[in-house]
Each structure stands twice: as C-alpha cells, then as structure tokens.
C-alpha cells in the first residue's frame, strides 16, 4: 500500500476533500479518481499540453503536478468553464471559428487560452502563438485557435 495523504482543494468552484496516494499525479486524480476526463492524457511527460489545467489561475501540465500539490489550491478543469446554460466566451469562439477538429488538444488549448486572456490585455498574434507553443495540435495548424483567442481578447 502506498502512503496516502488527505487533501482539500477547490475544484471547479466546489470544495473537495479526499485522500490520495502521495505519488499520484494531478492528471490521474482528475481522470481516474474524479472522472473528469475532459483533461486529456496526451504524453504524460509535459510535452504536449493536452492536460493543461489552471491551478490558482495559472496554467499547468496536470501530468507533471503531484495531486498532493493541489492541496489548498483552486483547480479549474475544462468541465469548470461551461455550465448547462452555456459555454465560456472562449469555448464559444473555438466552436464558431472551427478551432476544433479531432478535439483532443482542445481542452488544454482552451485552458491555456483562458490563462493567457487572464494575464494579458493586449495580445498580438505573436504573443498568442508563443503563449500556446507548449500545446501541440496535429489537426488544425493552429491558425483558427489563435484567431479564437485573439477574438476573445478583443471581445473583452
């Protein structure tokens, strides 16, 4: 049996308390324990960005983060961005702009975009491209993703 630790986090706005093995990654916690499968496992080694989440508002690769390090912090996953009443503005723009093809990189891409939008008021296309450099997409060629983020920045 591995060593367990109790953690308390605010997950998508709800206080959540649970006991987890100390060696568990945040990605495994989200996907396998909490069944929040919107966070994708693309490489499990911090190279593809598909598992990007927000921790206290900062984007991180959930695969490189220990679940215990979520203790006392606010975690936002893709499931936390929309409600049954609607999508977030950036999610809606991803839909409208056809910034989604296979969709596997999409949750991570949107969370990274959400992070960039929270940090920068005036982002150039170059800023956005650099900002999503760590998020790989094999389908779209990134153009429509950048456009969606740019338009979200303009809309604010």
């Amino acid at each position: 049996m591995s060593l367990e630790q109790k953690i308390e986090l605010v997950l998508n706005g709800r206080k959540t308390t649970l006991s987890i093995p100390v060696e568990m990654s945040a990605l495994t916690l989200l996907r396998d324990v909490l069944e929040l499968t919107g966070t994708k496992r693309g490489c499990d080694e911090g190279e593809c960005g598909a598992c990007t989440i927000l921790v206290d508002g900062v984007s991180m690769n959930a695969c490189l983060l220990f679940a215990v390090d979520c203790d006392g912090r606010a975690v936002t996953t893709i499931e936390g961005l929309s409600t049954v009443d609607g999508l977030s503005p950036l999610q809606r723009l991803f839909v409208e702009k056809w910034a989604v093809q296979c969709g596997f990189c999409t949750p991570g891409m949107i969370l990274q975009g959400t992070y960039l939008l929270s940090r920068n008021k005036d982002m150039s296309v170059t800023d956005i491209e650099r900002g999503i450099e760590g998020n790989l997409c094999r389908c779209t060629g990134y153009k429509k993703i950048v456009e969606a983020i740019r338009e979200a920045a303009e809309e604010r």
Binding site: E45, I78, F94, C102, G103, R138
Partner: protein, 767 residues
C-alpha cells in the same frame, strides 16, 4: 402572410457540429471509456530486432496479485493480420522488429499490468537482421518471411506509351534520385481500444478505427468471432490521418484478453509506445528519369521506387497505387514506365498516412519538374501550365478529369503570391552580402477527390428519419475522425430539406445501427457520404412535397421547403409549418413517416491488371507557393507565407476546408523541416515529443487560401474531396523555394539545419 426567402447553407462556414462537446470536455474518447469490471491490458514487446523466441516464462507474472491473464501466441489462433497476412497479433517463434508483440497481460490496474510485464522472461536467439531495402535485396540477406525468400512482398509495374520512343523525342533528359525518411502520425490521442464480450459471445469493440465495417470483416478471422457478432463503437477519435485504416496487433490482443478473462479489457498506449509501435509513413527512394522537348513539352518519364516495408505488410504497402498516379498523370505524359519494389526489413512497419505515398511522390516529381523547366529555359509556372491537363481529358492511365481546375490553381497561386516577380528578385538577392536569403517555390498536386475503387464497393449508406417536430436524424456509415464529415453531411441534408442546421443530428459511431461505408480514406467522405446523404434527403424532400401538394391542393413542383416551412416556391409564402405537415402525414388515416435510405456507389471502376482505369469519380488538384527565409550561416529555414489554391469542386463549408488546408500545411511542414523518426538498426531513437518535433504555433506562416470551384458533375453540389491534398505539395514547394534562395537543389528530407548547411557547403553546383 409570412414570406420566407430562399437561403442556402452550401458554402457557409457552419460551425462543426461536435465542437460544443469537444470544447466542454464532454466528448468521450476511447481513453475515457470506463466499463464495470474493466481490466487494463499491456503488451510486452520484443527486446530484439530479429530473433528466434526460445521460451517465454509467464509464471511469475501470472502469480502477481491483481493479474487476471497473461497470454502468448500459444493462447491465440495465430491467424495473421494485415494486407500481407503476415502479422500474427502475438509472435510465437520469431520476432522481426522491436515493436513485435510477444506477450500480453490483463490486470486490475495499469500499474499492476506494467509490473507483470517486467516479470515475464523471454529467451531469444538473435538472428542476422537487415535495416535497409537495398541490403535486404542482396542475395545473402537474412530472410524475414519464408513465404518471400527474396524479401519482396509486392512489386508493381506500370507503363503506357513507349519510353524508348519518348527518349528519342526528347531534347533534354534528366535523372534524379530522392530519398524520403520515416515519420509517424503523432495523433494527440494515443492508440487504444476497449473490448468486451457479452454472455452470448457477442463482441463489442470501442475502437478508433476509421473503417468500422472492413474492421469487422478483417478482425473476425483473427479473433475467431463471426463478423455478425461484432459490434464496433467509435467514441470520439483523437486524430486519424490514415493511422486507423489498418488493424494493428494491439486490437486483437485486447480482444483475446477480454475473452480469456471474461471481463472488459482496455488497452491504451503510452506516448513512448505510440512512437515505437504505431505505423509510419514509409521511407521511399525514388528515381525519376524524364525527358522534355525544347518547347517545354514533357516526353516521357521512367520511374523506380524502393519502399522500406518494415517487418510486416499493412495497407501502407499499396502506396505505389497513389505514387504511380502522380508519376503518370499529374501532367500530360505520352510515355511512362513505373516499377517499384516493396522490401521487408527489420525496421518498424509502415502504415497508411494522409496523402498515402503522395507526399513522397510529389516531392520527387515537383522538384524534378523545376529542374526540367530550368533545363529548357522556362519558368516553373509556364512549364507546368504547358503540361497541365484540362477538364475533359483522360490521362493515359485512364483517369477521366471530368472537372479539372489545375491551371486555375497554378495561375491563382502564382498571381496571389507574386511568384514570378519574387522569384526573379530572390535570385538576384543570392549575390547580396549577409547570411539571410529568401526564396519562393511552387508545386502542385493530383489526388483522388471522389473516393477510390480499391475495395469491391466504394459506397456509403445513409438512413434518414424525421420526427413529428421536423428534427432529422441522419445515420451515416461515414466515420468522423475530426475532419468534419458530420457537419458537411448535416449541411447537405438541411439544404435539401430547407431546415436550420440545428434541426439535423448525425449518428455515425455504431456499426449496429449505421449502414455500410468503406471508411475514411482517399479523401472520399464529403464526396461519397455527401452524395449518399444528399440523395437520401432528396427522397425525403420529394415525399414531403408530395404530401404537402396533396394536403394543400397544389402541385409539388410549385412548392419549396424553407426554414421549416412548406412555401410557395415563387412567392416564398408560407403555406404550412413543416412539423405540422409531418404530423398530419403521421396521424392521417393512411399514416406514414418520413424515412428514407440511400446507398451511393460512385461511378468509378477498379483498375485493371495494368493499373489502368478511372479509379475515382473525381480528382482533386492544388498548387502551393511557399515563401521562405533561410539563414545560410545556421541552416535554419523560416516559412514566411504559404499560398494555397485548391480545386475543391465547390465549397461546402469554407471553415472546414480552411481547417484542412491549414492543418495540411502544418503537417507538410513538419514532414519537410523537422519531423524524423530516427530508426537506428531497427530501434526508434526519439520516442517523445521532446525529440520528435511536430510543428508548433509560432512556426506557422501566413496561409493564404484560394478555392477554385470547378463544379464536379458527379460531386454533391459539385464538391470534391480535399482532406489529404493540402499536405501533399508542401515538401516540393519548400525544396523549390530553397533552391530559389540558395541555388542548390535538395534531394533528401527533412531539411534540418544540419542538412541544409552541409548541402550549402557542398561545392558541387548540383549532383
């Protein structure tokens, strides 16, 4: 009176229908499937490139708590997979590559399964191995499969005209050899499958396949389950690009484990495993010898290609079908010969990858074309225009170009990018001081755009039903792998029935309820599935209009369907709301529902034994112009702008086509500049995104797009396929631009800084 104007969805940028699910994290991929009692499978792969298996000891693994089954070839029927029927899912007596599957485990968790793998002891006796096609063809080369003692599973020979005559007619003859490398798909969603048996022996597979119906047929004998007892469910697929056209050993292995344990089994690769054990684009050596008359008319082409098949034969071994089309028919060519040899090696085995041989072929042919143009003193554009075929022509391989926007693609891309002006300018820049040079290059493509009659049927079925409220459900055989087929299908249906797109939903993920389709390949889905859906919708439309005419005392041809109403066609006056009409049909004395079916088979023919015939119902053309900057001191290339002109027949969804082009440009750039699966003596050296570089956002150039609408007579609303095309001519366009920038030709990919520098320092003007 309510008047409803006629509007159209064709050509509109309708958002992708499944995007809301994907942006909210709701879409379920195979990685996300959880079933009650589900176990996790893992595969033990070979530690040797070529060896006899002397023994496998699984006892310690079996005894590990949490392990439910450990299987080897001895536990399976041993029926081989693949186009060459040479690939048993688990290898019994011999391994032929590092990815070979030797044993597999099903356990309660992935971690336990991993631990169990480490407890399996395999004794090998090494055999001599061979890692290049040239070496595998030598007399004393090790033999991989006894069935093919020459190591050649396939050869292809094609010809038309008389090459000797063509040579005599030529003023200039040029021979070039091009060498292409290993790359792999890098789908963001790794390979995976979930298999489950019910108590009656019915098998359900949650699969990523892009060919669900052929999948059933092909996997049935391998796993010993009758095809009619197999149900294929396709959760959202995290990227295909051809990689899911073949069945790979991991799928039957998961099925064996599910059968053995009586529990659902999920088997998902790690990213490292994905690099090591998923298919590749085959490395090819292409030698082209072509002649041209002084006036710029092509006379002949004699081509040879040598393919590294790897250790087993997938559908990828049939890429010569596509390669020969580009060689024989991209340009008008009176005399042609093409010979190819597909050779076994102990390398990873190759599969199907977007473009299916055409990136390799077009890199060679379009680089070579620039040299031929230069040799006769013509500019690359004029030379291509001179030899480009036109609408109505039949190529000597038998392809009928019923719609051909090739020349328009060439002129549009060239004009839009100022190709000729910049080309002259950049040639002058070569003499300037400083390390930075600029270049511009052009290249074109031919690809099937209306399916390909490779299989006995190239058709697609549609079942369409309408409910009492006007909502349409379309059951289509066509799979969705991210390309947007579901949206285009819905557009065709909504257009025929005069409905908002939100009234149409598409079901495409369950072989139990969707009708047959050959699968996602050959850029065929918009064309074939679109035609099928459009025709099914037309039948529904006719039925609705007949019923309306009867109810309203009008003639059907005076009526139209618009925005959910039956209207008078001429005035647009709404006569009745469509849902009301549907209910009146449903609840009439002689009640009826609107339900239609269609099976559309494109009017193409299978090629004959000489590989001649009109294999596709439509052909796609395109031209890309690439402008780049190269630092001659570091060898680093930066792509500045890509101008893409594609003959798409007719635009159905502009956003969807743009997405295909931009994505294709990125994939083509990766292939040309940075992607290289390094295989040293059969072992993959760079199995991670850290060391295998796909294109990232900041590397993307400006992409200018032009859609050439040639209105294909057979295409749905005139459309043709464009899925594979945008990746195809990028490599040659880049190489041609680099030649413009530096005065040197490049014959090998990828054009890494090291390779570029080495070539620039090479004092030979050309080879």
């Amino acid at each position: 009176m309510t008047v409803i104007e006629k509007t159209s969805l064709i050509g509109k940028g309708v958002p992708k229908l499944d995007a809301p699910k994907k942006v909210s994290g709701e879409a379920r991929y195979v990685q996300d499937i959880e079933l009650p009692g589900m176990l996790h499978g893992k595969i033990l792969r070979s530690e040797r490139v070529h060896a006899r298996i002397l023994s496998i000891d699984t006892s310690a693994a079996k005894n590990l708590p949490g392990v439910h089954a450990v299987i080897t070839a001895a536990d399976t029927p041993g029926v081989p997979l693949g186009h060459g029927q040479d690939n048993p899912p688990l290898k019994g007596d011999r391994v032929r590559s590092m990815r070979d599957e030797v044993a597999a485990v099903a356990a309660e968790t992935e971690a336990i399964a991993e631990e169990a793998l480490a407890l399996i002891r395999v004794e090998y006796e090494d055999l001599p191995a061979v890692f290049s096609p040239a070496a595998a063809l030598l007399d004393d080369a090790p033999i991989l499969h006894q069935k093919h003692p020459d190591n050649i599973p396939f050869t292809y020979e094609y010809g038309h005209g008389d090459v000797a005559l063509g040579e005599r007619e030529s003023d200039v003859i040029i021979e070039d050899t091009f060498e292409l490398h290993f790359v792999t798909h890098c789908c963001l969603g790794v390979s995976g499958v979930v298999a489950r048996f019910d108590p009656e022996g019915n098998l359900t597979v949650y699969s990523q396949t892009q060919m669900p119906f052929l999948y059933k047929k092909e996997i049935a004998p391998v796993v010993g389950v009758a095809p009619e007892k197999i149900r294929v469910l396709q959760p959202a697929i995290g990227g295909g690009f051809g990689s899911k056209l073949d069945i790979y050993p991991f799928e039957p292995i998961a099925i064996f484990l599910a059968r053995k344990t009586g529990r659902p089994v999920k088997l998902v690769f790690t990213r490292e495993e994905e690099f090591i054990a998923s298919p590749t684009r085959q490395p090819v050596v292409l030698t082209l010898r072509s002649g041209v008359k002084r006036d710029g008319t092509l006379t002949f082409r004699d081509a040879r290609t040598l393919h590294d098949n790897g250790a087993y034969t997938s559908w990828g071994a049939t890429t010569p079908f596509v390669i020969m089309q580009t060689i024989s028919s991209l340009y008008r060519l009176p005399h042609c010969r093409y010979r190819t040899t597909v050779v076994y090696t102990n390398n990873p085995y190759s599969g199907s990858f977007r473009g299916f041989g055409n990136l390799q072929a077009t890199f060679a042919v379009e680089s070579h074309m620039d040299k031929l143009a230069e040799a006769v003193g013509m500019d690359p554009l004029a030379f291509r225009l001179r030899n480009a075929q036109k609408t109505g022509e039949t190529t000597l391989q038998g392809m009928v170009f019923r719609s051909c926007g090739f020349s328009e693609c060439l002129t549009t891309a060239a004009e839009s990018s100022e190709f000729l002006e910049k080309r002259a300018l950049y040639e002058r820049y070569r003499k300037q001081s400083g390390p930075i040079r600029r270049g511009i290059g052009i290249a074109s493509l031919l690809h099937v755009g209306g399916g390909a009659k490779i299989y006995r049927s190239d058709g697609c079925g549609t079942i369409l039903k309408m409910d009492d409220y006007g909502h349409v459900t379309v059951l289509t055989g066509a799979s969705e792998i991210g390309q947007g087929s579901e949206t285009v299908i819905a557009q065709f249906v909504a257009e025929e029935l005069g409905l908002p797109i939100s009234w149409v939903s598409v079901v495409n993920d369950d072989s139990e309820i969707t009708p047959w389709d050959v699968g996602v390949h050959a850029s065929r889905t918009t064309f074939v599935a679109g035609n099928s859906a459009q025709r099914a919708a037309r039948k529904a439309r006719e039925k609705i209009l007949r019923a309306a005419a009867e109810n309203l005392g009008a003639r059907a041809e005076e009526l139209d369907l618009r925005r959910g109403h039956v209207v008078r066609a001429e005035s647009g006056e709404s006569l009745v709301e469509l849902p009301r009409l549907l209910r009146s049909l449903h609840f009439a004395e002689k009640s009826d529902l609107v339900m239609t079916t269609e099976y559309y088979e494109p009017p193409s023919v299978a090629q004959d034994r000489e590989f001649k015939g009109d294999v596709s119902a439509s052909y796609a053309f395109g031209t890309h112009v690439v402008e780049l900057e190269v630092d001659t001191e570091t060898g680093v290339i930066r792509i500045l702008e890509v101008t893409a002109a594609h003959d798409v027949g007719r635009v159905i969804n502009a956003l969807g086509i743009e997405g295909q082009i931009e994505g294709g440009v990125a994939m083509g750039m990766g292939y040309t500049l940075s992607e290289h699966l390094l295989v040293e003596k059969g072992v993959v050296q760079n199995p991670s995104f850290r060391d295998y570089k796909i294109v990232t956002a900041p590397e993307m150039p400006e992409v200018k797009m032009h859609f050439i609408e040639s209105h294909d007579p057979e295409g749905p609303s005139g459309a043709k396929g464009v899925g594979e095309a945008p990746a195809i001519c990028i490599p040659a366009a880049i190489a041609n631009a680099l030649a413009n920038a530096t005065g040197k030709r490049f014959y090998e990919l990828p054009l890494t800084p090291e390779k570029v520098l080495r070539r620039l320092k090479d004092s030979r003007a050309d080879r």
